[in-house]
């Protein structure tokens, strides 16, 4: 259990839901959560080729005197030893640096905007920057605590989709939770996707870990998403094949996050997955 998940604690009812999701995820995939209780609304995350300034929504600093107590209580109830992150380095006296040597990060759909903006179809600019720059997958939690009993990986054949698939295999291997793969058949045939898997030498893992490989045949992705179990952790790559794939999220990713309210584990372009 030496893998770690970074969680930025918001001392509010919404923050409690997010922390509960993080605890559930950590227990399922046997990782250790590290909680950062912010003392200022700004901090920096230095990634390998980017520095992201996180300007937190003011609600993160709400009732700072009870934040530690609340977070500890939730962790202890979940049977997890509380570990809190204290920044060691500061770019400026009011600007702490949060290191990025984590294996996962958990956050709601937005951390810089008012929580009233959080809803389907909206992922905040800072969360997008983190997904783009991070070398770890980002767990975007559903607004209310929701246990997941299966893993659903969206696979469309891109490099990030393969990474998402490998993450799905790993989560399935560690947690023992059933894994389903969903592929939208657009202009391609089922065989072409199977060939992609074969070319990547992932046939063995597919047969070992995947419960069902669903090929979605409806015209639009939105019509197909009802087939995704409501209590599944959805794993998907953030960027697809298109021209601006390193600048904006893929169109399918946008449609999925606009349509379903499941917990999303998003794999960015700088993450290299191992099974």
């Amino acid at each position: 259990m030496n893998h770690q998940l970074l969680h930025i604690f918001r001392n509010s009812p919404l923050g409690r839901e997010t922390l509960l999701q993080s605890m559930y995820f950590s227990k399922q995939v046997k990782i250790s959560p590290v909680i950062y209780i912010p003392k200022s609304t700004k901090f920096l995350m230095y990634f390998e080729n980017d520095v992201v300034q996180i300007d937190l929504d003011n609600s993160y600093l709400m009732s700072s005197d009870t934040a530690l107590e609340h977070a500890t209580e939730i962790l202890e109830r979940a049977g997890i030893e509380p570990r809190f992150l204290e920044p060691k380095h500061y770019t400026a006296s009011t600007l702490p640096d949060i290191h990025t040597n984590f294996d996962y990060m958990s956050c709601p759909r937005s951390i810089s905007d008012l929580s009233s903006k959080i809803g389907l179809g909206y992922i905040g600019a800072r969360v997008r920057r983190i997904v783009k720059s991070a070398q770890f997958p980002v767990l975007i939690t559903s607004p209310v605590y929701k246990e997941w009993e299966s893993i659903a990986v969206f696979f469309g054949g891109s490099v990030n989709a393969f990474n998402a698939l490998k993450v799905g295999f790993r989560l399935c291997r560690i947690s023992g939770i059933p894994l389903d793969v969903f592929t939208l058949l657009e202009n391609k045939s089922q065989e072409s996707y199977e060939k992609l898997i074969k070319d990547e030498n992932l046939e063995t893992e597919m047969s070992r870990y995947v419960n069902t490989w669903h090929f979605l045949r409806n015209k639009t992705i939105e019509e197909n998403l009802y087939d995704v179990p409501h209590n599944a952790l959805v794993v998907l790559g953030a960027y697809g094949h298109h021209l601006l794939k390193t600048f904006v999220f893929g169109s399918k990713m946008e449609k999925i996050q606009s349509t379903i309210s499941n917990n999303l584990l998003i794999v960015g372009p700088n993450y290299t997955a191992a099974i």
């Binding site: 230095y46 300007d55 992150l85 040597n101």
Partner: protein, 576 residues
Amino acid sequence: MRIFQSWRYPANWTIFRLDDRLLLILVAIIVGNCSGLASVILNRALMAMFNWFHHLHHYWWIFVLPAIGAALSSLFLEKIVKEGAGHGVPEVIYSVSRYGGLLRFRSSFSRIISSALTIGSGGSAGPEAPVVISGAAIGSNIAKYLSLNDRQRVTLVGCGAAGAISSIFNAPIAGMVFAIEVIIGEWKSVHIVPIAIASVAGTEISRILQGNQIPFSHRLFNISQMDIFACVGLAVLTAAASILLTRLLRSMDKTAKKLPAPLWIRAAIGGCSVGLIGLFLPEVLGKGYHVVQATIEGNFSQGLAIVGLATIAKIVATALTLGWGGSGGIFAPCLVIGSLAGLTYHHGLALLWPSVPWVNQGCFALLGMAGLISGMLQAPLTGIFLIVEITGGYEVILPLIIVSAITTSLCHYIEPAAYYMKELVEYGHLLRPGTDARVLSDLNVSELIEKDCIAVTQNMLLRDFINIVKKSHRNYFPVEDEETGHFMGIIHLDDIRQYLFNPVMYDTVFLSQIMNTRVEVVYPDDDLSDVIRKMDANRLFSMPVVVNNRFIGLISKGNLLDQYRKELMVQTSQSI
């Protein structure tokens, strides 16, 4: 699509694969031009603001203008761009030291606007530090966009700083020397060539848009040996002024932070105080280049007391502006304070030894400028080249070297760290390449963990343990709780030799009886410098790494030394 993709990764282009220095040189031209342009924009903005506000200077209420400018500057930085940072240069050095020169995009323009508000309204500060961080951030973000590696990015940060200084002073050599001596701290050809190119590009942009003018022209000086001897005294005076400015800046900063008021109010208080000083001594307002020009040309006609008072007032005004939250740099104030200190010294010499034919007062003003820059930055070469270039006064090179060298040494003796680096040194953030601290900071505990250890349980008999020892090549064995898997302690073979060679003990001793439970442990987040300190203090060669009460591996001095050597070789090699 392929063409578009290839733009993002120029390091993969065939031409740059042959020699990636070509890539840096090409990008350095772009960075130098952009940072030079940023300097020109700030310069033009300051000129425009000077023209707007100049006709208001006869009104009694003008003292509130610096307060308004400083407050707006602080509000802009805090509320609009949310910078949350200081004057700029320390942030650049910090980023170069610790994060391969990664700087935020917003830094490429934020300080230009904030310092224009502070200085343009009369705050006592200079435009150089803001353009340095802007140029450096431009270099960093271009490197980021092109997906260049850390060392290339650091070079481009230096290019940005060099281009900015070169442009604002029309001084390419000073820009280059400043970037290498202060920002990068590493004299290597891989840095020097692109930085030199960026300096030329930055200077050219300035010359095209603003004309090729020496900022402070002067007449020739006839320097005698007496003047050169007198330089020693001037160096002492400039060192004292540097120390006073450094300490006053820090004490103002501390005092301001104690005030329970928003940043913009603190900045306004500082600005207002400067405005009040400016009512009586207008020389302290703004960047003050007209004062420098007057002193060098010998047109500053005030007597010893007034000049001395102006020197002190400028030091106080600068500390009030920057220490209380205004935005700007210390280059320009240093030039003004240095020139006034030189003038004070000249007046003092003339008063004490009126029969000696001392060189013109302008020469001492010029030497004083070099002394202040060298003393504050503790970067003598930057001081020397900057003064030579901005005054065109190569004939003063000998006394310049003397003043710069002595001032730097004296300041270093009293204040071991330069103004820009004081906080970085205090917090252990000044990590120059090839130094012990830098090598250790680039390694982390996680990459040094050795996982090939065999864990044993506390209820294991010594006989069973010996069977495990036979199969292992390690001397350390972590002991875990059978049920929870929690780390209980460690067995080091050296500590239990008397049991190992006594067969009577084999079936009577449990590991719980002989394990060491008072073990210093390491966490994956620990700094390696702290780990080594613990190892040295306790004379340990290996330490267990523990997460959530679970043993995950060992960290040993042997492995650490291997990785240390590799990292040191990477950092000290010439290749990019």
